[in-house]
């Protein structure tokens, strides 16, 4: 497998299990399981044992590999500078080897099959891919300043669709000229890459890049940080040379174009940084700049925020595969409890995967009614419209 030459260099010191301020466990798979095997270091050692023939690719081994949420806390916190940046590449390579060997959990297999057969994991036919945009008067992309890229979860998850509508509305209100691909949009492949299905990812990347070029797309706004990651960081290796922005980056620049918010009653909120925005791509300021422009809204940070944020547990395909489970120690449930500990009643994020994961967790945690989970764009629209 690729990157095998660094497997033995992991000391298993455990920095990767914690955020930078050490307040609590920050690796979703380890947090949920608590077995050393599910920690990043455990994965490194097990991969080496498997490569050396000391372990089989059992169902548990597969689960250990594929339950990694690719949140990048390990790469952020690892203290070995000479290989820390490659940890997720190692895990992806391990998963790729399992994919190649046909030894993957059924949920992973089903996810990949759906993306391969339907172009998206929800098995949406093309015309249903635009359900989220009904009534929004959003044109197909035809040379506008930006392409708005919605991604799978924004198009397929009911909560993701609500978010997508509000993001599109707030960008429209800010005067952003944009179009969508509509039924021609397919998966961006971020999760396929994270799950080790490199060929599928390459196919999707090349296909999407070709579509962008055919239509003359130069600048792209993504709804999801996952799509942002794929298009901005992974596509260049396949020839993609587009300017890619997460929607919060565009909105933060253009908040002054919005009608002065009439505001609403004072509102304390907390903000959950999506891993693919904060850790993978270093963007922690844009969402906060937006919040700072909302009169009456105050931000109460959680103990873990920015690059120290606890993942929602939905990355690495776990939103679809549910390998991390939904028990009380699942990352999403721990995260909503952490949000309530700030004393706020509103938990914001800016990722459809996080939104769906955290809202579901709030229900499981019996916090619905006490903790409202919503997207940043939804709050902006509410404050612009003067209602809260």
């Amino acid at each position: 497998m690729d990157h095998a030459e660094i497997l033995h260099r992991c000391f298993r010191c455990g920095y990767c299990k914690l955020p930078g301020n050490h307040v609590d466990l920050n690796c979703p798979a380890y947090l949920e399981s608590r077995f050393e095997t599910f920690s990043p270091g455990g994965r490194m050692w097990l991969l080496r044992a498997w490569r050396d023939g000391e372990l089989e690719a059992s169902e548990r081994f597969q689960r250990i590999l594929f339950s990694c949420a690719t949140c990048a806390n390990c790469t952020e916190q690892c203290v070995f500078p000479k290989f820390k940046d490659r940890l997720l590449d190692v895990f992806a390579a391990g998963k790729a080897a399992l994919v190649e060997a046909g030894r993957v959990p059924p949920a992973v297999r089903d996810y990949l099959t759906a993306v391969f057969d339907h172009g998206n994991p929800f098995k949406l036919p093309p015309k249903r891919r635009t359900l989220w945009a009904e009534g929004l008067d959003l044109p197909r992309f035809d040379g506008q300043a930006y392409l708005l890229w919605i991604g799978d979860v924004g198009a397929g998850d009911p909560r993701g669709r609500q978010m997508a509508r509000q993001v599109a509305r707030v960008l429209q209100r800010a005067g952003i000229q944009m179009g969508i691909l509509g039924p021609d949009e397919t998966s961006d492949g971020n999760e396929a890459a994270a799950l080790g299905e490199g060929e599928l990812f390459s196919h999707l990347a090349r296909q999407n890049i070709a579509r962008f070029r055919e239509r003359g797309v130069r600048r792209i706004i993504t709804l999801s940080p996952h799509g942002f990651n794929a298009l901005s960081r992974l596509y260049p290796a396949h020839g993609g040379d587009f300017a890619v922005f997460h929607y919060t980056q565009i909105l933060a620049r253009h908040m002054d174009r919005l009608a002065p918010p009439t505001g609403g009653p004072p509102l304390a909120v907390t903000f959950h940084d999506p891993c693919y925005l904060a850790r993978h791509n270093g963007e922690v300021q844009a969402p906060r700049r937006i919040l700072a422009r909302l009169p009456g809204v105050t931000l109460q940070e959680m103990d873990r925020s920015g690059k120290n944020a606890l993942c929602c547990g939905g990355g690495g395909g776990n939103y679809f595969t549910h390998l991390l489970g939904e028990g009380p120690d699942s990352a999403a449930r721990v995260r909503v409890r952490e949000a309530t500990a700030t004393g706020t009643a509103v938990m914001l994020t800016c990722c459809p995967t996080c939104l769906a994961m955290l809202e579901s967790a709030a229900v499981s945690q019996n916090l619905d009614g006490r903790l409202r989970v919503c997207d940043l764009a939804e709050l902006v629209m509410e404050r612009l419209d003067g209602c809260s």
């Binding site: 033995h8 260099r9 000391f11 010191c13 455990g14 299990k17 301020n21 307040v23 050393e36 070995f80």
Partner: protein, 466 residues
């Protein structure tokens, strides 16, 4: 050795105690929990269990007694000397689900924590909720547990002022090998965990025993004022023979919280020198400066004779030396690009500093092993934990064997010098026992038989009757 059917039944019973999710006899857990980061050969358990409460630990211990199955208590598993390997199989009891800070008494300055609470999490908890208090942190990664470190007689960044971490222990809750829960220290009598005095001190039954006398589930440790101002100085000498005197002078001032010597062949500027890091704090800049002046005055003779002196330290370097925990120490594991190091941490009188230094250099150079040497001073020069750290490449069997040989030789030589290896590997424990006063060894054996009649607790460690 039980048959497969019996083991499966035990797994099911464990699952009934802790829940299905928290027990495993899978090959993956058996593989990983059977080894640590050091050089000791693997010894896999039959299963691993993750209890969440003292009652669950109690139930696990009772089951293990009934079935005569060994139990291996484990904190973070960062001891490096193989103490949590399952030398006779059985059940590894990973305590890290028990990681709650139970109480902090900021008047009497102690914290009660579950044994699996990590150093980093307690540090963060205190910073947030009790910002004027701190605990003594070992030079270990932040996942190291409070329980594990105290129970092995660890030391840390306040040991120069207050001794071993076991000296900072106020009390324990422990599940005895026969399943009873005992409280040790003031908590046995009072709701407060303020001290081990004035009772007969039973804590010694569980300190340094490598998990062979029970499973500690809670403990109380002393907390100390957190200074808002902190400083560090590095005193450098070339002759190791002068270091005991230097340390004696510096500790006599009694202002340092931590004093640690270090000697390393790399980087080149450090080679051949004896460095002594001195850390202290103050409630004001004036106090900080006053303490600095006292320390300088203590070693003025050396400075005036130009045989030693303080190293100039720019602020960024000071920050690196006062950062806690210091993650750079962990990176020694990558010196050989191989993810491994282990050290002999020898508890020794400070008198033996020069001999220990020469021993470390001789062993490492003769065997071609990458090394780093140093010593943490415990108390006012009362003793030191002299460490002989040897790095190895985990992927190179010959390199691992070289490091293992260096460790074995160092252990032997340390004992011959008059020191005692700390958290010793099982073979080094035997070397210590061979040198031990026979009556002491017999007392250990009698105590062990008395508290653990079925011999289930971490067998293979401190085997006095081998």
């Amino acid at each position: 050795m039980k048959d497969h059917g019996a083991m499966q039944r035990i797994v099911r019973e464990l699952a009934a105690i802790v829940g299905d999710r928290h027990v495993s006899d899978a090959a993956e857990e058996r593989y990983l929990y059977g080894r640590d980061m050091g050089t000791m050969p693997p010894a896999p358990p039959d299963m691993v269990v993750l209890p969440g409460t003292t009652a669950e630990v109690q139930a696990v211990v009772r089951l293990a007694n009934r079935e005569r199955v060994p139990l291996v208590p484990m904190g973070a598993g960062l001891v490096l000397s193989g103490l949590t390997r399952a030398l006779a199989g059985g059940i590894v009891v990973d305590l890290k689900r028990m990681n709650r800070v139970v109480a902090v008494n900021d008047v009497s300055r102690y914290a009660v924590v579950e044994a699996g609470t990590s150093q980093g999490m307690l540090q963060a908890y205190l910073k947030k909720h009790h910002p004027t208090l701190k605990h003594s942190l070992p030079d270990a990664p932040p996942m190291a547990t409070i329980g594990g470190n105290v129970l092995i007689h660890g030391s840390g960044h306040m040991s120069c002022a207050y001794g071993f971490h076991s000296d900072m222990l106020n009390g324990l809750e422990v599940v005895l090998p026969t399943g009873e829960v005992a409280r040790i220290g003031s908590c046995a009598v009072s709701d407060y965990w303020f001290a081990r005095a004035p009772l007969p001190d039973l804590a010694g039954l569980f300190l340094g025993w490598a998990g062979t006398t029970g499973i500690v589930t809670r403990l109380a440790i002393k907390l100390f004022p957190r200074y808002p101002f902190n400083d560090v100085a590095i005193f450098v000498a070339d002759d190791p023979a002068v270091i005991p005197d230097v340390l004696g002078r510096l500790t006599a001032v009694q202002v340092a919280e931590d004093m640690t010597a270090w000697m390393t062949p790399k980087p080149a500027w450090a080679a051949g020198h004896q460095h002594v890091n001195i850390c202290w704090g103050g409630h004001s800049r004036e106090e900080l400066i006053c303490k600095r002046d006292l320390l300088r005055a203590a070693v003025r003779d050396y400075i005036q004779a130009r045989t030693a002196g303080f190293m100039p330290l720019p602020p960024p370097l000071k920050k690196r030396f006062t950062r806690l925990p210091d993650s750079q120490l962990t990176t020694f594991a990558d010196v050989r690009k191989g993810g491994g190091f282990e050290y002999v941490g020898a508890i020794m009188p400070v008198d033996l500093f020069a001999a220990a230094y020469r021993l470390g250099v001789r062993v490492a150079e003769a065997r071609g092993v990458a090394y780093s040497l140093g010593a943490r001073i415990i108390g006012a020069n009362h003793c030191m934990m002299f460490f002989f750290a040897y790095a190895f490449n985990r992927a190179d069997d010959a390199d691992v064997a070289r490091a293992q040989g260096a460790l074995e030789e160092t252990n032997r030589e340390v004992i011959a010098l008059g020191g005692i290896p700390w958290k010793a590997e099982a073979p080094a424990q035997q070397a210590i026992l061979a040198r031990m006063d026979p009556s002491t060894r017999e007392l250990m054996a009698r105590l062990r038989r008395a508290v653990d009649p079925n011999g289930i607790m971490n067998p293979g460690n401190w085997e006095t009757e081998r």
